[in-house]
């Protein structure tokens, strides 16, 4: 098991955002976590990455990571493409990509991986000298992905990659997610666009107001009448 989350609880003051959830991601999988706005998807992602305090245990690659600070979790091989891209707008595209490799010292390998990111996203190469803030939404999503890949993650957390993108761009991004997965990167995908997410995922969990209510193979979850009614309508 690459990632195992047990009895995760996240509280914001008096508010219970995540109420004791457990799930797991196996090596090589694409796992989707779907749910409506405010279900606790982003809180789950932030808790795994160590950005917010949480209770419960999170085991990644056989190591307990729930008490490790965020910047050290990246070194374990866990990267995140955060909701809303969160690229560094005042840095150039190339520098954003460089920041993704912040912890790495292997200069030659970094160069190779950067080239690989540019191959995946040719538009980023064209715009490498531009300030990241001048990119379009789709390009920013690509940059956020490329940046995260530069840390050579074993597991990539993707939070709402389709948000605010046109259907064509969404397809493009999802194709790349699948490609990255084929190259050996395990993916935990959080999406409101349940339709798209269930198409590419192996397994899925449905999160409702801080609790996992439905889980199983992506095809089964997609066929579940409750899911159909609530998320796929």
């Amino acid at each position: 098991m690459l990632l195992k989350v047990d009895n995760l609880i996240v509280n914001y003051g008096m508010i219970n955002a995540i109420k004791d959830i457990s799930f797991e991601v196996e090596k090589g999988e694409i796992v989707a976590l779907i749910g409506a706005n405010g279900a606790g998807k982003t809180s789950t992602m932030h808790a795994i990455s160590g950005l917010i305090p949480s209770k419960g245990t999170i085991t990644f690659n056989n190591k307990e990571i729930s008490k490790i600070p965020a910047h050290k979790i990246v070194a374990e091989g866990l990267a995140q493409v955060p909701e809303g891209r969160r690229i560094f707008a005042s840095l150039t595209v190339a520098d954003n990509i460089l920041m993704g490799a912040y912890l790495r010292k292997d200069k030659e390998e970094i160069k190779k991986d950067r080239q690989h990111v540019y191959d995946l996203f040719p538009r980023l190469y064209e715009r490498r000298h531009q300030l990241a803030g001048t990119l379009s939404g789709g390009e920013q999503q690509m940059l956020a992905m490329g940046r995260a890949l530069m840390s050579k993650p074993k597991l990539l957390l993707m939070d709402e990659p389709s948000m605010g993108l046109s259907p064509i761009l969404v397809n493009e991004i999802f194709d790349i997610i699948r490609e990255v997965n084929k190259e050996g990167v395990t993916i935990l995908l959080v999406e409101q666009n349940a339709n798209k997410a269930l198409q590419i995922a192996d397994r899925a969990y449905v999160l409702e107001t801080g609790k996992i209510t439905i889980q199983g193979k992506a095809s089964e979850v997609a066929a579940n009448p409750l899911v159909k009614e609530a998320y796929l309508g």
Partner: protein
């Protein structure tokens, strides 16, 4: 000619303000707080250089390096002891703490050196540089040169090196920076160290310019530099430089053509004007609060 001489004098004083303003603006950019004790840190830098030179008779470069190093350490320790425990709390808590730190430092130095001024050793000889009809004292010219070298190196550092870029990343989005593996605590410490180290240079320049230092010198210098930082757009290093230089020139021209009594009034007047016309400062970006 007289007018141009006054401009040069103003630029020189202004560049001292700029050095201090950079400290305010960098700390604000990275740690999102106004370090109101920054002025006092400069005073401490000045005294450390004074002790090295006058008490121990150390060579000038050694005195400068020791002053910068110890002041940088003081900056780091201040942040760790006073500000870090308050991170995530309200900005008012931090503001009051910073004012407390400022009085603490001032009073420690009052105890150590009393309120009477100390004569700062003459490390820059008196005399003038004359070019054409222009004339400027050595200290005026050296201040300008030193400031431009320091800020040039700083800009190279934050724009060209990986650590510098990481600092900018932290200043823009702390969480996203953490997701890159950037250690926020180290970055904040580094920022305080750089700001305070530059402050030490400003403190030494102050000593050379006015040849008398006392534990209160940080207060007014700090406020003026803070104004420079706000005018330039707090968070922006080029803004802090521009703000500092503008302030220095305005002050110098007021002193020579109106009256020295008015110089502070003009400085604060310019601040009010800039804030009315461009609330984010000259180089500031309009920050949209995320809801």
């Amino acid at each position: 000619m007289e007018f141009i001489n006054q401009i040069i004098n103003g630029l020189s004083t202004g560049s001292m303000y700029a050095l201090v303003a950079i400290g305010y603006t960098m700390v604000y950019g990275i740690a999102k707080m106004i370090n109101f004790a920054h002025g006092e840190i400069i005073m401490v830098g000045s005294y450390i250089a004074y002790v090295c030179l006058a008490f121990y008779g150390l060579p000038i470069p050694a005195a400068i390096i020791i002053s910068m190093a110890l002041t940088a350490c003081l900056g780091i320790v201040t942040e760790k002891v006073a500000y870090k425990p308050l991170r995530g709390k309200g900005s008012l808590d931090i503001l009051i703490t910073a004012i407390g730190v400022s009085y603490l430092l001032q009073n420690i130095f009052l105890l150590l050196f009393s309120s009477s001024g100390r004569t700062f050793p003459n490390i820059i000889p008196a005399g003038n540089v004359n070019v054409g009809g222009l004339s400027a004292t050595y200290i005026t010219v050296i201040t300008l040169v030193v400031t431009f070298i320091c800020t040039g190196l700083l800009l190279l550092f934050i724009n060209k090196t990986k650590i510098g870029k990481a600092m900018r990343a932290v200043s823009e989005d702390r969480q996203a920076a953490q997701l890159m593996g950037i250690n926020i605590n180290t970055t904040i410490s580094l920022t305080f160290a750089i700001g305070s180290g530059l402050g030490a240079i400003a403190g030494i320049i102050y000593g050379c310019k006015f040849s008398l230092i006392n534990p209160y010198i940080g207060a007014m210098l700090g406020i003026k530099a803070f104004i420079a930082a706000v005018m330039g757009g707090i968070g922006s290093v080029p803004g802090a430089m521009a703000g500092g230089l503008m302030l220095g020139v305005a002050e110098s021209l007021t002193i020579s053509y109106i009256s020295s009594d008015f110089s502070d009034a003009v400085v604060f007047g310019i601040l009010i004007f800039v804030l009315l016309v461009k609330p984010a400062g000259l180089f500031g970006k309009n920050v949209r609060e995320k809801v």
